[in-house]
């Protein structure tokens, strides 16, 4: 094995933010003893983004704690570094021991976002890994994928030997163990793949036949599931540069557009006692000055008050800030923010009218929006509102409702603090129908219609003083929608797009719309073929994955949506979605 370390080090002073590649983070486990098998976690985005990914850190920690196994990391290098690596003929290396990524027993790519698909190939390319699993040689590393995009792995399935669908906590280590054993016994690649196929959650694309099914992997005992007690402390400031504690998995709200809310069912909470212990361990071992309590709807967490009581004094003594993201209006209390130095509130009504909020089952009423005045009283004078555009059944009236909410908030604010001014920032994403949601059959509105509605809203908001408006690019939303519900044909499109220069598609400055359009056309496809409405009885590319939540339940929810009927929060009682067969919903 060639030693690239010294050559690689010489490149570091020549690139932007060399700390992205240098390693040596505090809490890095000892890598000196030999391992039976090792896995390189590849995150197809920059260090700053990847280091904030909770899933990767949890899995990294689990493998490094296991006797005889080792995990290392690699992030997508920025373009300047990629150029240097190519010029010097250095393959992509792991951060910790600077070992070529392709020489690991298993290479595990975490995919959390459709617009990272070309970056997966970018990393494989730099690493010297053959793109298609079927073309790999006997001795090549076993290349696997995991992460939230495993909800519909078909567009990228041909690039991987195996895909872990669902939560990787148990599956990843078991898979690494079996691959290492297979190598020790001298098994062939095909035999090794056969030997991992029965691990819960593992999908081996080359074995897929008529009737093939994969059961999503679920952590059964979430309370005692391993958690990162010693998170790595990033060398370069990362996007969420703080200790992050996951309070629970799944979500009881049942918003009909939300993939994570259905995909991560059953709903499993960790006790406040254990959460407090974990939080303190993390803060002690990292020295982070900020703690973020994170979950899909953190303020719904049963033990929130107990947890805050336990952690507030601890944090106050040490000057640590506690951040509570994704607050729901319905559960906002002014003292929730008492230990946070934030002066800006964030709320996500998602839709402008009650009618449409009922359609999407976003449980936020007009009366509750009025409750925001409590926050104004508490001294907040800046608010961020998140909405979605193009939701099923949306009309111009619903869009006008967004402007109406802004006016209403301004009135409420003036009643409380007439001498000052309220800043409202409205952020509007385009609705993307996603697999594993009641809206998985919906069509996405056309590109032209997106533009028209964005224009319309912008016009309305311009008339209100103190409101700023930002929206997501229509182009990326169409592409994301096409990739999200795509099938295996898209693997060719992704490969063509990458070869034609698409990369870092999630970064607006790098996004190449024309390249993607040409890539679809070149394969006789269009994005609209994938963003169209699906028939209820149509076979969907992700149907072979058993996610717990029944397809029939999703269809029923869809029907309720069209009738404008809401479904109650699971905390008020089980709605019978089917996830129970995969484990207990601890909130019941």
């Amino acid at each position: 094995m060639a030693d690239f370390v010294s050559e690689f080090e010489k490149l570091l002073p020549e690139v932007e933010k060399p700390g992205r590649y240098s390693g040596g983070e505090w809490n890095t486990p000892d890598m000196s003893s030999p391992a039976r098998g090792d896995m390189c976690f590849c995150f197809p985005d920059l260090y700053e983004i990847g280091m904030s990914n909770l899933g990767v850190q949890i899995l990294y920690d689990i493998i490094n704690r296991a006797e005889g196994f080792r995990a290392e990391r690699c992030f997508a290098p920025a373009l300047d570094m990629a150029k240097k690596l190519r010029e010097h003929g250095i393959p992509l290396l792991s951060i910790e021991t600077k070992k070529p990524v392709k020489d690991f027993t298993v290479v595990g790519v975490s995919i959390g976002f459709e617009l990272l698909y070309t970056n997966v190939l970018y990393m494989m390319d730099l690493a010297g890994i053959t793109f298609r699993a079927k073309d790999r040689k006997e001795e090549d590393a076993i290349v696997i994928a995991g992460g939230p995009c495993s909800v519909n792995p078909e567009p990228f399935a041909p690039f991987f030997d195996a895909i872990v669908c669902g939560e990787g906590e148990d599956a990843d280590l078991e898979l690494l163990r079996r691959v290492a054993e297979g190598r020790e016994k001298g098994l062939t690649r095909a035999q090794i793949l056969n030997s991992i196929a029965d691990i819960e959650g593992v999908y081996v694309p080359s074995l897929k036949r008529e009737g093939y099914r994969v059961k999503k992997a679920v952590v059964k005992d979430f309370e005692n599931a391993p958690y990162i007690s010693k998170p790595l402390v990033p060398t370069v400031e990362s996007v969420h540069d703080r200790a992050t504690l996951e309070l629970y998995r799944g979500c009881a709200s049942g918003c009909r557009f939300c993939q994570a809310g259905f995909w991560y069912r059953p709903i499993r909470e960790r006790s406040a006692k254990r959460c407090a212990e974990l939080a303190k361990d993390m803060l002690k071992s990292t020295g982070f000055g900020e703690l973020s309590l994170c979950s899909l709807s953190t303020s719904d967490y049963t033990g929130l008050e107990a947890l805050e009581d336990e952690l507030s004094p601890y944090c106050r003594e040490r000057g640590i800030t506690m951040a509570l993201p994704s607050l729901r209006i319905s559960s906002f209390k002014p003292d929730m923010a008492k230990d946070s130095r934030k002066s800006s509130l964030t709320f996500a009504p998602e839709a402008g009218t009650q009618r449409l909020r009922d359609v999407i089952n976003k449980n936020v009423s007009e009366a509750e929006i009025d409750k925001i005045s409590v926050a104004f009283e508490a001294g907040y004078d800046s608010i961020k509102l998140y909405f979605m555009m193009g939701l099923p059944t949306e009309t111009d009236e619903d869009i006008a409702g967004i402007a109406e909410i802004c006016r209403r908030l301004k009135r409420l604010y003036m009643e409380k603090r007439p001498k000052r001014g309220l800043n409202i920032s409205v952020s509007c994403a385009v609705f993307i129908p996603k697999p594993c949601t009641p809206f998985q059959w919906e069509e996405q509105i056309s590109f032209e219609e997106m533009k028209r509605r964005q224009f319309y809203l912008r016009g309305l908001l311009r008339e209100i003083k103190g409101v700023s408006f930002s929206w997501h690019g229509a182009e990326t939303s169409v592409l994301e929608a096409a990739l999200a519900r795509g099938d295996r044909r898209l693997s060719y499109v992704i490969e063509d797009a990458y070869r034609a220069g698409a990369c870092f598609d999630g970064w607006s400055e790098h996004f190449k719309w024309d390249v993607w359009q040409a890539a679809f056309e070149g394969r006789g496809l269009t994005m609209q073929m994938f963003t169209r409405a699906r028939d209820l009885d149509e076979e969907l590319p992700w149907d072979f994955i058993d996610v717990g939540v029944d397809k029939k339940y999703l269809a029923k929810e869809r029907e309720l949506a069209y009738r404008g009927v809401t479904t109650k929060n699971c905390r008020e009682g089980c709605n019978g979605c089917g996830a129970l067969k995969m484990g207990r919903c601890t909130i019941l």
Binding site: E9, K10, L12, P13, K17, P18, G19, Y21, S22, G23, G24, E25, W26, T28, V233, T235, V236, E237, D241, L283, K284, S285, T286, G287, F288, G289, R318, G319
Partner: protein
């Protein structure tokens, strides 16, 4: 007040100055060294640095001043138990008040990866980019001396308010020696203040 003398080497060479500030505050939190905080609207921990080090350069002589009542020996031990590879402290000095090294340091010694040779630096011009614009600068007045350190070239360069970045001299030295040196091979070995027109090693001021 405690002044820690620490190194910045190995992987830590690539921590930028801004990131270093966050690193240090985390080390202090992990080490549970009680640092006094400033008063006022946005209280912050009272820690003070010596002038920033160029990215990629190794240093054996960085200084960190901490406002704490903890004894020097304990600060040193705790700091070293909580610091990542490459940022460990060498010694700790106790002092009455903040020695304000940020302002007082005027020079530093750098050992370069070239064998020692007598060089005439008069009229030396360096070229570099500043905000995308090419700049030419005569830096001869910022090179105070050259000497032999273990057979290698050691330069004393202006540091602090009047500053010469050691990496920016590399191209010039490469030209003189006809070889290519790397930033990662430069080592800072000492920092100096000026007293009565003489350079005094910061260590001597503190001890």
């Amino acid at each position: 007040m405690i002044v820690l003398k620490y190194q910045k080497c190995d992987e830590a060479r690539f921590i930028s100055h801004i990131d270093l500030l966050r690193h240090i505050s985390r080390i202090l939190l992990r080490a549970e060294i009680p640092v006094k905080r400033s008063n006022g609207f946005n209280p912050h921990a009272l820690v003070f640095f010596s002038p920033p080090l160029a990215l990629g350069v190794t240093s054996r002589a960085e200084y960190l001043t901490i406002d704490t009542d903890m004894p020097a020996g304990e600060v040193l031990a705790r700091f070293n138990a909580s610091t990542p590879k490459g940022l460990n402290a060498i010694c700790a000095y106790g002092c009455e008040k903040n020695p304000n090294l940020q302002a007082r340091v005027v020079a530093a010694d750098y050992v370069y990866p070239y064998p020692y040779r007598e060089i005439d630096f008069s009229g030396v011009v360096i070229e570099y980019q500043k905000k995308g614009e090419p700049v030419k600068e005569d830096v001869s007045a910022k090179i105070f001396s050259a000497r032999d350190e273990g057979g290698m070239l050691c330069l004393r360069l202006a540091t602090g308010g009047v500053n010469l970045r050691p990496d920016r001299l590399l191209a010039t030295l490469d030209g003189i020696y006809g070889e290519t040196g790397s930033v990662t091979d430069i080592v800072k070995t000492a920092q100096f203040a000026s007293e009565d027109g003489k350079f005094v090693n910061i260590d001597d001021i503190l001890s």
